[in-house]
Amino acid sequence: MKARDARLRLAQNTGPLLALGVFVAMFGLFLYEHPRQISVNVLTTASNKAVVLALVAMAQTVPVLTRGLDLSVGSVMTMATCISSVLVNGSPGHIAFGVVVVLLAGLAAGAVNGAIVVIGRIQPIIATLATGAVYFGIALLLRPSPGGDVSEGLSNALTYATFGIPTTFLLLVGVLVFLWLPFRRSIVGRGCYAAGSAEGAAYMSGVAVGRSKIVAYMFAGLLSALAGLLLSLVALSGEASAPQGGAYTLNSIAAVVVGGSSLFGGSGGMVGSVIGAFVLRTIGDLLFVFDAPPLWQPLFEGVILLGAVSLGASRVLRIKNRLELFT
């Protein structure tokens, strides 16, 4: 019985495990080729760069599990960065207040998304496309030109290392352990998986499908805001940049797919998405240490991205019946 259990778990987690293997290989190569001695600093820089995308990818994961999509994660992140550049400074009390406001704003944005999708019954992809424009407009309103002031004390506390481990990485693990794992085991969390794999069946079985979906989008808003907060702490300023937000949104979808979650909902999880984000971020680092010509870098990155998402998402390799291809 135990052995069968283990095999089932293994089969359920092939995607994340495969991504983990790829990441370990890539990161090992990166450390091996790195010109400087491997130090906490190297790891901290790598972690700071990857954690923002990892958080946005985690945000994207929950709506994707419900067979939805959140195209506003990048905008919510940008909005959070801009709020943070206005509020997160000054006395400790002021900073704490600012952090709370940033996170609440993310939560509220997610709640609006969820309400429009569930109560308004508008397709998530187009609903979040529209709300994304609104959130980006709010970001522009708060910060028409790049700049602002973000607490250096908080930045120093979060972007260096604690006990030899990058603090941002600890934060990531904290979110996974204290938010994601309890959520996945909760009734609402299971409802997200159920709604994603068969919404009608879930509804008929008494799952609160609507509530699960709204919470999924709220989760996405909260984590996007956290990502934006970290981004403002790394950059020490805020900028309402549309290309940056758009790039994060698209990369979050790619990371979710590379991490083994299905875009058709119902299977996958945040751990895979984190690994997926790390894989995507390591591509650029690898090209850097291997001295790829700068002009070729975008092309290499594009080709590797295409290959990675194709492998992560290709159904041709998994189907048993030809007709399954078409559904």
């Binding site: 529209a130 994304g132 009608g200 008929m204 080709v303 998402v309 194709s310 998402a313 291809l325």
Partner: protein, 316 residues
């Protein structure tokens, strides 16, 4: 008759919104509804309209093409590159750009139809690859990418009746695609696949070829849009297509096409494009700052969809 009515409803409401936008615009500035200004708006709408036309086929399949921005840019840059090869190159520039779009579309279609990678994911990847290729080609800086006189002719100049040529091209594209969707078997297959591909496949439709065809048309129209934009702004540049992906999707959906595929009328997309362009121009006439424009833009889309774009309740 009931079925036709339910499809027409979004188009009627969207047309109503156009009238509202025109009315609000005319209270701010009376020249907003002058024929000259409206023709100018239609000329601007032609670029978005042509780019959205092919995208609509892809959305009717229930798919999406996120590589649109760099397909537009690649088509434009390759056309200007060919134009530098001499008089023959200049003559063949526009077909060459469209050929590039065709090739991109076929690759995208192949990725979905044969490899069965969700189109959203595959085109996300091809977009990145195209961007890489164009950065490599331009060497990171802008090379000679001047528009040819012909490109400027089709994009800016007016010929018959003082109507911009861009508008004529949009009309031609519209008529061809609308007829194709309504009267040809290919058009029927597009709707059939959008509703249920396995059923279409079992009925003997060569669904893969139809899918590749739709993506190919999308590539061609995107590249054509890029070439015309080049003529409009006198040169091709990186990122010229970035501003067209989201408005194109929004216009198609506002025109009553279901983002899940299988449902929609071509004329709806035309209305949607005009609505989006007029809305943007009204906000700029109001001298609304960019932040306010984004917010109103988003709110209007949500409100309109709440009026007529709601899905069915899932009960079983």
């Amino acid at each position: 008759m009931i079925a036709i009515k339910s499809i027409d409803k979004p188009i009627l409401i969207a047309s109503g919104f156009i009238v509202v936008v025109l009315a609000i615009g005319s209270t701010i500035n009376t020249s907003f509804i002058s024929p000259t200004y409206l023709l100018q708006q239609l000329q601007v709408a032609a670029f978005l309209g042509i780019i959205a036309s092919g995208m609509m086929l892809v959305i009717l399949l229930g798919q999406i093409d996120l590589s649109l921005p760099w397909t537009v840019t690649t088509g434009a840059m390759m056309a200007t590159a060919v134009a530098r090869l001499g008089p023959w190159g200049e003559a063949l520039a526009i077909p060459a750009g469209m050929l590039c779009g065709l090739a991109i579309g076929i690759v995208n279609g192949f990725g979905y139809a044969w490899l069965r990678i969700p189109s959203m994911i595959f085109t996300l990847g091809t977009n990145a690859v195209l961007q890489g290729l164009m950065v490599l080609y331009t060497g990171g800086f802008a090379p000679q990418t001047q528009a040819t006189p012909l490109m400027q002719f089709i994009a800016v100049q007016k010929s018959v009746l003082g109507v911009p040529n861009a508008l004529y091209i949009w009309i031609v594209v519209t008529v061809v695609l609308a007829l194709m969707l309504r009267t040809t078997p290919f058009g029927r297959y597009v709707f059939a696949i959008g509703n249920r591909e396995s059923a279409a496949y079992l009925s003997g439709v060569r669904t893969r070829s139809v899918i590749v065809g739709c993506f190919a048309v999308n590539g061609v129209t995107a590249a054509l849009g890029g070439v015309m934009l080049t003529g409009y702004s006198t040169k091709a540049y990186q990122g010229m297509g970035d501003a067209y992906l989201l408005p194109a999707i929004a216009a198609i959906v506002l025109g009553g096409t279901s983002i899940l595929g299988g449902k929609g009328q071509y004329i709806g997309t035309v209305i949607g494009v005009i609505l989006i362009v007029l809305l943007q121009s009204m906000l700029s006439v109001m001298q609304m700052p960019e932040a306010g424009r984004q917010i109103i833009y988003g709110v209007v889309i949500v409100v309109m969809l709440l009026v007529y774009g709601r899905g069915a309740k899932v009960h079983s």
